[in-house]
């Protein structure tokens, strides 16, 4: 084995392997959506998900005409026209800052709020 061969096998081959692995991990744009890691700041818009109405529009939701969650979501938060998540997952998304959507979503009123009191629940941090 010559010196050049030895160098190639013992230095070149591991280096090449490391380079290939490094390229594979550092290739940009594979995954655009960043995962949540604890301690990161949360820069997404506030989102409000609600369940599908029972029985596809029957059930207890007599106040909302039409069927399906898209109607319910759009009647609650009407500024989200054409948003993909609204119809597909039954999710109503608060657009803009929370206050705008919230004032429009205020359907229950103060008397309803007092009827639901006392509020219970729990709180946790991580």
């Amino acid at each position: 084995m010559t010196v050049a061969e030895t160098l190639l096998v013992y230095a070149g081959a591991p280096l090449a392997l490391v380079l290939v692995l490094a390229l594979l991990t550092l290739v940009p744009g594979r995954r655009r959506r960043t995962r949540y890691k604890p301690g990161q700041s949360w820069e997404h818009e506030p989102v409000w998900y609600e369940p599908h109405p029972a029985g596809g529009g029957g059930g207890g939701h007599a106040a909302t005409p039409g069927t399906g969650a898209a109607a319910l979501g759009s009647s609650l938060f009407p500024e989200q026209g054409g948003e993909g998540t609204t119809g597909r997952s039954g999710a109503a998304q608060l657009g803009g800052d929370g206050h705008h959507g919230a004032t429009r979503a205020l359907t229950a009123g103060p008397s309803a709020a007092s009827a639901a009191r006392p509020l219970g629940g729990a709180r946790g941090t991580w």
């Binding site: 939701h61 008397s111 639901a116």
Partner: protein
């Protein structure tokens, strides 16, 4: 055509950290969760609401400096009527502040005592601390709905 041109110019002008533009949304409609995760959230919310007759809603976003009062404020807006509001449960998660709040109405609190909520919150914070937002929420919803049970008069299927 103009829209595409607009979008490309906008893209080059913004940095990677900003919100997606409207044209970006066609490729990645939801920047927070993938479709599978959205599906899991949707199913968990819908099924737990149907099984228990309570109305579970989920808020993910900033809760401000006073997280409890903000969560209660949001809760009061989460239903159409007073009857619905009493039987509503709001799960408010603020990943940036690392806070989760569960708010129950008076009717829901009879079936979901605060101790049961605290237990669900504990399991949720465990999952959140390891970075699993969706798994924690789904498991928390499952725990809450298991605790609330199925009322005798409720016919769902």
């Amino acid at each position: 055509m103009t829209r595409v041109l607009d979008a490309t110019s906008h893209d080059t002008a913004t940095t990677a950290g900003t919100m997606p533009t409207r044209a970006d949304e066609s490729q990645a409609p939801d920047s927070i969760f993938s479709y599978q995760e959205l599906l899991r959230l949707d199913e968990a919310l819908t099924m737990s609401s149907r099984e228990t007759g309570l109305r579970f809603t989920l808020y993910i976003g900033d809760l401000g400096p006073q997280t409890r009062s903000r969560a209660e404020e949001l809760f009061e807006r989460s239903a159409h009527s007073a009857h619905e509001l009493a039987d509503a449960v709001l799960l408010a998660v603020s990943p940036g502040q690392r806070v989760v709040e569960v708010v129950t109405g008076s009717g829901a609190a009879r079936r979901l005592p605060d101790r049961a909520c605290a237990l669900a919150v504990l399991s949720m914070t465990n999952a959140f601390a390891s970075g699993d937002l969706v798994g924690g929420i789904v498991n928390g919803l499952r725990q809450l709905s298991d605790q609330a049970g199925h009322p005798r008069g409720l016919r769902t299927h």
